[in-house]
């Protein structure tokens, strides 16, 4: 059995699976039940000056019968009194001393206000703090949340204030609602952040009622943009995590990955791209705390299979596999290959390639009433599209074609240092 214990920026956790700061981590009762189910840590629902919530709060994107592929919310930070939250945090730490309790914070942009809430969270027994500079709805209208995260100078300034008062590690939670997440991460680091967590939710309107014209979630006929999360946002989160891991200015900064993590495989992807822990919300809101059992079991089996002793050995292993586009090999040739024994004759690869890509698949009615398809090799640019639309496992595979040419990147080619292998467009 591998060792799942992790240490992120000085915060120790029995495993890398944390509840994200969100409804599942709203109360002491929930957090304790989550720890009993196996979660290694929890980022407490954001504390600040009490707010009042609307009633209707969540909206979801369903895709082809799969429920909640994306989830949107307009819920604000905690609506329970601060003293109740702090009392419950103390209780949880007393009963679960080895689990990680990170307290998410958000107060107005005043140094004293930040000093005070940081001290109160530490007094309650928090193992770490997470500064919520990401919440994109409601709080941002009041100059908090993503209103801070979108301005690097504010991010740096408030991180400094929190660090002045803190004796425990401080993570800064970043918003994806920016043009380049690296600037936000650099600002957090400049301000003294011990680590970053990302992504917070994305500005979104999930759907509109076609009869009432009201977007969802609907509050008395009106809506407001919400924060989008769930499986649909994972690719965006993976990229942002990797950008911070690759950026020379922030490389090595501890990262807690967030965004669409539903199972151990998703988590491993975040680790490989540089995260040390992962935070989960939507999957818990869908299926409950019990999902962590397979996350732990699956990660354990995977680490054993790979011969890795712990999670830290996984961290960042894929970062070196990411390059700027200009450094990719232009002479790496792949071509689609259709296994005719597996083909069910749906013709989807044909229509996708013919209308949507490079006209490299031929088709004709087959004797059995289906559609016969074949690859036009000289036209195929190896784009993968046909293999992506094919509904049959391993029916269309992308096969590497050996070429009589040295690897050559755009950088090399455009500087006259490389030679391109022949390409399909040369045939036209």
């Amino acid at each position: 059995m591998a060792d799942l214990k992790v240490n992120i920026a000085g915060i120790e956790s029995p495993n890398p699976f944390w509840l994200a700061s969100a409804p599942p981590a709203n109360t002491g009762d929930q957090v304790m039940r989550a720890f009993d189910a196996g979660w290694g840590g929890a980022v407490w629902k954001t504390l600040g000056e009490p707010i009042v919530n609307t009633w209707s709060r969540y909206g979801a994107l369903d895709l082809n019968g799969q429920k909640m592929m994306g989830l949107n919310n307009i819920e604000l930070i905690t609506d329970r009194p601060l003293e109740v939250n702090f009392r419950e945090i103390a209780e949880v730490k007393k009963r679960y001393p080895k689990h990680a309790v990170i307290v998410s914070l958000m107060v107005e942009a005043k140094r004293e206000a930040w000093h005070e809430i940081v001290k109160r969270a530490i007094d309650a027994g928090a193992d770490g703090l997470e500064l919520n500079f990401g919440c994109p709805h409601g709080m941002s209208e009041r100059g908090m949340g993503s209103a801070v995260g979108q301005v690097p100078d504010y991010t740096c300034q408030i991180t400094e204030w929190a660090k002045e008062a803190s004796t425990i590690p401080v993570l800064v939670k970043l918003t994806p609602n920016i043009t380049d997440v690296r600037f936000a991460a650099r600002a957090a680091k400049r301000g003294g952040a011990d680590g970053v967590s990302l992504i917070n939710t994305i500005n979104s309107i999930t759907s509109v009622d076609l009869d009432t014209f009201a977007p969802r979630p609907t509050v008395s006929g009106y809506s407001s943009h919400g924060g989008y999360c769930g499986p649909a946002v994972k690719p965006i989160a993976l990229n942002m995590v990797s950008e911070i891991a690759r950026d020379p200015e922030t490389a090595g900064i501890p990262i807690s990955g967030i965004g669409g993590i539903s199972n151990w495989r998703d988590a491993v992807e975040f680790f490989l791209l540089g995260a040390t822990t992962v935070q989960v919300c939507t999957a818990v809101m869908h299926y409950g705390f019990r999902i962590v059992e397979d996350m732990i079991d699956g990660l354990n089996n995977y680490l054993d299979e790979k011969g890795l002793a712990n999670v830290h050995e996984l961290c960042g292993k894929s970062v070196g596999h990411i390059r700027d586009w200009k450094n990719l090999d232009l002479n790496y040739v792949v071509r689609a290959n259709i296994d005719q024994n597996k083909c069910i004759g749906c013709g989807l690869c044909y229509t996708a390639c013919n209308d949507g890509a490079h006209q490299a698949i031929g088709a004709k009615p087959a004797d059995n009433g289906r559609t016969e398809v074949w690859v036009i090799e000289e036209a195929c640019v190896g784009c993968n599209l046909c293999s992506l639309v094919c509904p049959v496992e391993q029916c269309i595979s992308m096969q590497q074609i050996p070429v009589d040419a040295e690897p050559c990147s755009w950088e090399q080619y455009s500087s006259g240092k490389g030679k391109l292998a022949p390409r399909p467009q040369d045939n036209h």
């Binding site: 199972n263 999902i291 397979d294 995977y302």
Partner: protein, 447 residues
């Protein structure tokens, strides 16, 4: 992932293996219910959504462990369980817009790569020095022996037949479970490390009193015996036999040797062994298969889905409200089955209607073969030879909820105690008995 399709299914498989693509699509269709009805419906309470979720996350090892920790015969149960009335019958999707999740086939997908490939997932517990004799190497005995071994006790299985597995090996229709699959599973179960003495009949080769003296506890899981003759004329004719023998014969002989092409068959009985014999006869090419049952369909023990499967073969006819009275023959061979018709009498106080023979209602079914599937015998003589062992009027060993019998150190489970249920029931009961034996042995040790 290698393919695990066993090669020897002579009549084709009722529920073939799923490909990876099929399994993932099916697993992702599962709603992952809370306190799931499918789990509650399973006698071994396999956490079904949990193992399915692990298939979806491609944690196949975790999935197999989830199944096999609950039910060590999870690979054969995946094939032989009447899932239509257990887990799949309980699936909430039945009430939605959908077919239930193919739980049995997903269970096979998860367990075959380990059980059929002989990859061990368990290890024997730290030795306690206690010895337990297991009488009978069928599903109940194997489940009991495996659980005891996990708990650190030395289990020794005594089996009268040459092979382990009981009905799984000898008595399940080939289109559900073939002999190779059963034997591979048996080998895998045994590979945790308990010893086995085959061809050893207790009460004959070794006495029960010896076992009770030599072992710290004894478990009886002998199941049921053969199907007794019915006491009508003509039962000595060639072509008349026990339906279980007919089912077993196909497992050991080529399809040509057991072909029923051009023959007509009658199967006597209305239970699941009868319906298996009917379906197997039809699949073996019989031109007509009669199923003769003394009451109506509502009283038949066979599952509806099995009856529908048999009727779908086209050559099957169920003769309700009829009782065989004589087997007719010529030259020592069966030529027909003579029956009388029954009718229902007025219901008694319990609401159950008796039956009575209709006078002069004789008719003859022109058949070449007759198989009796009218209920397996209990091992009454064997139980009578065990001093003080309480047996009920129908010949079942009397046990409490833990499989404990009326006498010290002796437990019993499976068909011999429940009168004849599913493999999955025998596994659940054998495992529960093992846990109770463990408690009793621990209590003795720690006084």
């Amino acid at each position: 992932m290698s393919e695990h399709s066993a090669s020897s299914y002579k009549l084709g498989e009722l529920k073939p293996a799923l490909s990876r693509n099929e399994a993932l699509a099916e697993a992702n269709r599962c709603l992952f219910c809370y306190d799931a009805p499918c789990t509650r419906a399973c006698p071994t309470h396999i956490d079904v959504p949990k193992f399915i979720k692990k298939i979806a996350s491609e944690n196949l090892k975790g999935s197999a462990k989830t199944i096999l920790e609950a039910n060590i015969l999870g690979a054969s149960c995946a094939r032989v369980c009447p899932t239509e009335v257990l887990c799949e019958g309980a699936c909430v999707l039945n009430d939605l817009h959908d077919k239930p999740i193919k739980i049995g086939r997903l269970q096979r997908y998860a367990t075959d790569p380990f059980v059929m490939e002989g990859t061990q997932l368990f290890q024997a517990g730290e030795a306690t020095g206690k010895k337990v004799a297991i009488v009978g190497g069928g599903p109940a005995g194997l489940a009991c022996a495996h659980e005891l071994t996990l708990l650190g006790h030395e289990a020794v299985v005594f089996e009268a037949q040459a092979r382990l597995g009981g009905l799984n090996t000898y008595g399940i229709a080939d289109y559900k479970l073939d002999i190779e699959t059963s034997l591979k599973e048996v080998d895998w179960v045994q590979s945790i490390g308990f010893s086995v003495r085959t061809n050893t009949r207790i009460g004959q080769d070794v006495s029960m009193s010896e076992l009770l003296a030599d072992y710290d506890a004894v478990f009886i899981g002998v199941g049921l015996g053969s199907i007794p003759t019915l006491g009508m004329p003509g039962e000595d004719l060639a072509g008349y036999e026990d339906a279980l023998v007919f089912i077993d014969t196909l497992k050991h002989q080529s399809i040509d040797q057991v072909s029923l092409k051009g023959q007509r068959v009658a199967v006597i009985g209305g239970g699941n062994t009868a319906i298996d014999a009917v379906s197997q006869s039809a699949s073996l090419g019989a031109e007509k298969v009669y199923m003769v049952y003394r009451r109506g369909r509502e009283d038949m023990g066979a599952y509806d889905h099995e009856i529908d499967l048999a009727l779908s073969k086209g050559t099957v006819e169920i003769v309700y409200m009829a009782q065989p009275t004589e087997i007719l023959g010529e030259g020592g061979k069966v030529t027909g089955l003579k029956c009388v018709r029954h009718r229902l009498k007025a219901a008694d106080a319990s609401g159950k209607s008796g039956i009575e023979v209709i006078e002069d209602s004789d008719f003859v079914l022109p058949v070449d073969r007759v198989f009796r599937a009218t209920g397996q015998a209990k091992y009454r003589d064997f139980f009578a030879g065990v001093d003080g062992l309480e047996v009920d009027r129908s010949g079942r060993v009397v046990v409490d909820g833990n499989g404990k019998t009326s006498i010290d150190k002796l437990w019993a489970s499976g068909d011999c105690a429940n009168g004849g249920k599913e493999v999955v029931n025998a596994v659940a009961e054998g495992k529960a008995a093992a846990q109770h034996i463990h408690q009793a042995l621990e209590a003795k040790t720690h006084g």
